[in-house]
């Protein structure tokens, strides 16, 4: 707070006429020298506000057109019939998943047989019936697969011609704009009649129906006669396989209905473009078929790594804060506090390099250690994964959490502690029952700010997270934590250098930046709110 006499001080600029020291005052835009300085400093104070506004503005400026472009892309996807093909393709992919289920059973059976001391040739002989069955089951999809690949070519062709045409249009516009009429005339724009082109795709519906009916029959026949496994323990899994197939078959009528009613002229709304980004589960770029910009895989990756980092950093950071503030001797305090501050100065890129060069291998070696095989997810084979990145990020979050939590504990009024002691509580009781609850709001906000730090960290995740763009397979439970992931910060850093300026991919990255920006603001806001709401009034 400035001293209270500022008001009086301001008056010194205009001496009263009694003293009559007449001096021509330099004035800038009607302000005295002192006022000018004040305005100058005030303007500088405003810089922080301006920068925040500029960040918002420029992220929006580059990113906002994304949703329009994404809408166009989705519209083409529908107009050119790619969507239609994908509906059938989904059916094929579901079948592939079921085949994989069969393979999984076989793998388990082989493991089991080997454990029983059966050699490979014998195991193969015993599983021959099953293999035969699996092969027959796998073959049932062949007609559908043939149709899909046929349609894929047709749809790709339509899309390519459409895109070429669009490019011609743009080129023509550019020629016209720069006054080169002859060149513009030379470009022949052939507008595509989608409703006619699409017949090549939708026209196959009767054929599809025929194929589908036969396919359904084949499937039903296949699940009617399940083979008998040489390993009785696995038989329930086959029953489950039959169940899954029934569920799969039940989706057929809806799919047929979907295809029948499918219309390539159905409008693509803004909301669709928006939901494809916010809830889209695919981030797929530079693909020959269709590009998808769904943030979910990246968001989940960021979240998972942050969870790992906080899982490690919160106990360590808060524990250290309690120790340093309440338990440690003054000499220890003098040593530990600067040391942790020093750790916070280690640049993140150096930590990332350490992860690649040392920690990745070390953790993998640790996971393959026999004595630790009870840990879920161990042993694993990917050197760079969410766990590696999370461990390093913990080291980044610890100093933040430690410093802020220590501050919060330090701010607990001394009287609380003394009163507790006076009532006969032990040091332990005082810490657990009095100090920590009193400082809890500060600790929570410290954790939130640590989370913000971790979410926004780029270099460590870019180098160590494995950079695989896919939602981790959570069906395996907690072992998903050792899978490679990609993150929001990582994707910006990785792809920004390679994209075409102004393209949809480029804009998508800016929108990801916007999301990050708002997450950071939200976390900051929450942290402040918590501190203010639950602050203990002293006295």
């Amino acid at each position: 707070m400035p001293p209270d006499h500022t008001a009086a001080a301001d008056n010194t600029g205009t001496p009263s006429p009694i003293f009559a020291i007449q001096k021509a005052r330099t004035r800038f835009f009607g302000l005295t020298f002192d006022e000018t300085i004040r305005v100058f400093f005030g303007g500088n104070a405003f810089v922080a506000v301006i920068v925040l506004a500029l960040i918002t503005f420029f992220l929006f400026r580059e990113g906002s057109q994304f949703f329009g472009q994404n809408r166009d892309s989705l519209r083409t996807y529908r107009l050119a019939g790619l969507e239609y093909v994908d509906i059938i393709r989904q059916q094929e992919e579901d079948h592939t998943a079921l085949t994989r289920y069969l393979f999984d059973i076989r793998l388990k059976a082989v493991v089991k047989l080997t454990e029983e001391g059966v050699d490979a040739a014998e195991a193969k002989r015993r599983l021959a019936k099953f293999d035969d069955y699996a092969e027959r089951y796998g073959d049932t999809i062949v007609p559908v697969r043939g149709l899909v690949s046929e349609l894929t070519e047709v749809a790709t062709d339509i899309k390519t011609r459409y895109n070429e045409n669009e490019d011609y249009k743009v080129a023509r516009q550019q020629f016209l704009a720069s006054g080169m009429k002859a060149e513009a005339e030379a470009i022949v724009v052939k507008n595509l009649d989608f409703s006619r082109e699409i017949l090549a795709i939708t026209g196959t519906f009767p054929a599809y129906e025929q194929i589908n009916t036969e396919y359904a029959e084949a499937l039903k026949a296949a699940i009617a006669e399940l083979p008998v496994l040489p390993v009785p323990e696995l038989q329930p899994r086959l029953e489950r396989f039959r169940e899954l197939n029934r569920e799969y078959l039940a989706t057929f009528p809806t799919r047929t209905e979907l295809l029948k009613n499918w219309n390539n002229n159905a409008p693509v709304g803004w909301s669709e473009s928006f939901t494809q980004f916010i809830f889209g589960t695919r981030w797929l770029t530079a693909s020959f078929w269709q590009d998808w910009y769904g943030i979910i895989p990246l968001f989940v990756g960021s979240l998972m790594i942050s969870a790992i980092a906080l899982f490690i950093a919160v106990p360590l950071g808060v524990g250290a804060a309690i120790y340093v503030n309440q338990i440690a001797t003054p000499q220890e305090q003098k040593l530990i506090k600067p040391a942790i501050e020093f750790i916070s100065a280690i640049p993140s890129v150096v930590l990332g390099f350490f992860g690649i060069a040392v920690l990745g291998q070390a953790l993998r070696a640790l996971s393959q250690w026999e004595a630790l095989s009870w840990v879920p997810g161990f042993p694993y084979s990917e050197r760079l994964n969410a766990l590696t990145a999370g461990c390093l990020l913990a080291l980044i979050a610890v100093p933040t959490i430690f410093t802020l939590a220590e501050d919060a504990i330090n701010n607990v009024p001394r009287a609380f502690k003394e009163a507790s002691f006076a009532l006969g509580a032990s040091r332990m009781q005082t810490i657990v029952r009095i100090i920590v609850p009193a400082a809890l709001s500060g600790i929570v906000s410290a954790v939130l700010l640590g989370l913000g730090r971790v979410m926004g960290e780029t270099m460590v995740v870019l180098l160590c997270a494995g950079n695989r763009i896919a939602i981790p397979d959570f069906t395996a439970g907690i072992t998903a934590f050792v899978q490679p992931v990609h993150t929001m910060t990582g994707i910006i850093a990785q792809e920004m250098g390679e994209v075409v300026r102004g393209g949809i991919h480029y804009r998508a990255l800016f929108v990801v930046g916007l999301v990050l920006f708002f997450i950071a603001l939200l976390l900051n806001f929450l942290a402040q709110k918590i501190v203010r709401k639950y602050r203990i009034s002293i006295g």
Binding site: A9, F33, R38, A48, L52, F342, G352, G456, A493, G497
Partner: protein, 342 residues
């Protein structure tokens, strides 16, 4: 019971320290071999040089020659090859065949990166200090508590939480594209300066507030104007505090990679920054920078014994610089706290 719980807390604390210093130790031990192994004697003053610190990055060639395994940097390798070929031709033998494995950036040194980092830090800290100190002077000397000040403080607090990659995107969108500065020193300076602004403002304000009220009151009572008071009675006493706390900002600026990735850093550049035709070109050129170089050598080239040297060496030099800055900040601040007691 109480003792054992305290031990758990103690363990947590020391675990942090061990983790931090094992990272530090690994890089120091492995990296110092590269740096200190690169000393060479020369014939001119000061009679030694360190090739790792004073040369530009080169490709490393590993090959076998006359049954002997040799490693050479790009220039040395070419000269060697020419010499050997000429010698062989002179002796009337067929030219020797060279089959070399090459590893980019793995020979030579990191001089351009050091220069680039220093330039980035100096430029951005100058901007940040000018803006930040003025801002702090307003907040602590002029402003009265009100909606405006609260708004400004909120903005500063939020700015501090913005991820560095978002600053990078912003700098790219505003300076590189909108202002059309391209990938340049100037764009990097402003991006980094804005990033570090909250640190500088907070540090400066703290230092200004540490100057006792009496100093201002005395000056004002003698008839000095507000500005005269600040200039002669507040700033001189706050300056050491401002500078030492701002050193932490320097460590942050030097250590960040994400903001300069798209705004100022080049993967490789042959010319040194002062090698420009006109002065204005100086500001609009990209530079190599240590953090970005670490990123490049650790992600874009394979990990093996030949590349590990330059990786660890670069990381060691970089960590050394940053640690030195941070340590001096911590030490100076502790000293200062002891010196000024009003």
């Amino acid at each position: 019971m109480e003792k054992s719980t305290f031990w758990v807390f103690r363990l947590a604390t020391y675990l942090i320290l061990i983790a931090g210093f094992s990272v530090f130790g690994d890089i120091v031990v492995k990296g110092s071999a590269t740096v200190f192994g690169a000393f060479k004697t020369t014939s001119t003053f000061p009679y030694f040089t360190n090739t790792f610190l004073t040369e530009a990055p080169e490709s490393l060639y590993v090959f076998e020659h006359k049954g002997e395994k040799r490693e050479m940097g790009d220039r040395e390798y070419r000269a060697f090859r020419e010499k050997e070929t000429a010698a062989a031709l002179a002796a009337g033998q067929p030219a020797p065949q060279f089959k070399a494995d090459s590893y980019v950036y793995s020979a030579g040194g990191i001089w351009p990166c050091i220069v680039g980092t220093v330039l980035l830090v100096v430029g951005s800290m100058t901007i940040a200090l000018l803006l930040g100190v003025s801002s702090a002077i307003f907040l602590s000397e002029y402003a009265r508590d009100g909606a405006f000040v609260r708004f400004v403080r909120l903005a500063i607090l939020n700015l501090a939480g913005v991820p560095s990659i978002v600053f990078g995107l912003f700098g790219f969108g505003m300076f590189v594209i909108y202002f059309d500065w391209n990938v340049s020193l100037l764009a990097g300076w402003f991006t980094l300066a804005f990033m570090v602004l909250p640190v500088v403002i907070t540090a400066s304000e703290e230092a200004l507030k540490a100057v006792p009220k009496g100093f201002r009151e005395g000056s004002l009572a003698l008839g000095a104007t507000k500005w005269q008071t600040i200039r002669s009675n507040v700033l001189p006493y706050a300056l050491p505090g401002i500078l030492t706390s701002s050193i932490l900002g320097i460590a942050r600026v030097a250590g960040e990679t994400a903001p300069i990735m798209f705004t100022a850093a080049y993967v490789v550049r042959d010319k040194l920054p002062w090698d420009v035709e006109k002065i204005s070109d100086f500001f609009f050129q990209g530079v190599m920078a240590l953090p970005y170089h670490i990123y490049v050598v650790s992600s874009k080239i394979p990990q093996n014994e030949y590349t590990a040297r330059v990786q660890y060496g670069t990381a060691f030099v970089f960590l050394g610089i940053v640690a030195l800055i941070a340590a001096s900040s911590i030490v100076l601040r502790n000293k200062l706290r002891g010196r000024y007691k009003w």
